[in-house]
């Protein structure tokens, strides 16, 4: 065999290169996202409840937001009555983000983990992430 040294060295370099991302990440499985609900408004709630149950919101919030958007923009219906009979103003910017004023620790936490990049914030103004926000009227 000619040049076996070079070939084997080349092969080793190749294998190292290809497996480098795996080896370098070994054992450091990136932390599971832990969206935080530590915000002034949520902390003040006696019962910490979103507009719908947590499990539903986790799986379906994007669907819910799409429906909210269509309802408000296209039908002019702005009030959401949830399964518990409570009314909310359907507004990402004014209702969701009023409680979840920690977009970085709440929205981005999972969105980054999942590598999804929703373009809500190209238009909707995100909360200024400071602890002293003014609570706004959200429940009707």
């Amino acid at each position: 065999m000619y040049d076996s040294g070079k070939i084997i060295a080349g092969l080793i370099v190749f294998v190292l290169l290809v497996t480098f991302p795996f080896i370098s990440n070994m054992g450091k499985a990136s932390a599971k996202p832990k969206p935080s609900i530590d915000t002034p408004v949520i902390n003040e709630m006696a019962v910490k409840k979103c507009v719908e149950p947590k499990e539903f919101m986790r799986a379906e919030h994007m669907q819910l937001l799409n429906n909210w958007r269509d309802s408000v923009v296209r039908n002019g219906d702005r009030i959401y009555v949830n399964t518990a009979g409570q009314s909310y103003n359907m507004s990402l910017q004014n209702t969701c983000m009023n409680c979840h004023s920690n977009k970085k620790k709440f929205c981005d936490e999972c969105h980054n983990y999942m590598a999804v990049n929703p373009y809500c914030w190209s238009c909707h103004i995100q909360p200024k992430e400071q602890p002293n926000e003014q609570p706004k009227e959200n429940m009707l």
């Binding site: 539903f56 379906e60 429906n67 309802s71 002019g76 219906d77 959401y80 949830n82 009979g85 238009c123």
Partner: protein, 282 residues
Amino acid sequence: MSINRRQFLKMVGVSTVVGIGGTAVFNGLRNSGLEAAQTSPDPRTLTAKRWGFVVDTSKLQSDEDYQKCIDACHSIHNVPDLSGLPEEIRKRQEVKWIWTDNYERTFPTAPEDEYQNPELKEKKFFLFCNHCAQPACVRVCPTKATFKRKDGIVMQDMHRCIGCRFCMAACPFGARSFNWRDPRGKDDNGKPFVNPEKENKEYPTRMIGVVEKCTACTERLAKGMQPACAEASNGAILFGDLEDPNSEVRKIIATKYTIRRKPELGTQPSIYYVIGGGEHAG
């Protein structure tokens, strides 16, 4: 088992409240056991069959009075202010929901002659979307991003706009502006187009590449408030139901001489301009 009339009515009543008679929109949520979730309009919402405006600028004295209305609208809707750009570029890229112009340019097809009241030609008029009854913009929009609401308002769904600008070509009134720049951006001197200190935190901005225009303040109507321009106008802009013969706007249209912009094009604009208005006028 039989039910009597009273029980039947009760059942109908309850099922209406619970939502069988309401708008069950949330098809997608059905599977998740959320069929009771409902949407409804805000009870404070101002309603009409066809919203329209009467503009009588004789009620305004100075340029500041005009500017007050424009600022009221543009500030609450986070309309980007491109005034820091070089004049040539600003003229082409400007974003405006409400602005002013002279008689000739507001009513280019209105009959005129040399003996006409010269004051008329000096006068300034407010221009904004006419919320036409037969809107050209709605007919051409390929994505239905611009559409007509049941109350006559021509609405813009920014989520759907693809920025093709067909609507701008179709609108004969120049009521629409394209976002050539990111409204969140800055001009060459570092001045942001929407000042983060003054922005309305309860209203979105737009993004680069969509078309925007006056929405007749649908977000304010939903809270029972008048459009911002009308509120700031000292009575120069009136807002009301054109299909209600007893509304203020109809009473003025019935008693004073009013004209609309380019009515011959058939879009049926919903802004009526009071012409004259001195002591000789009706």
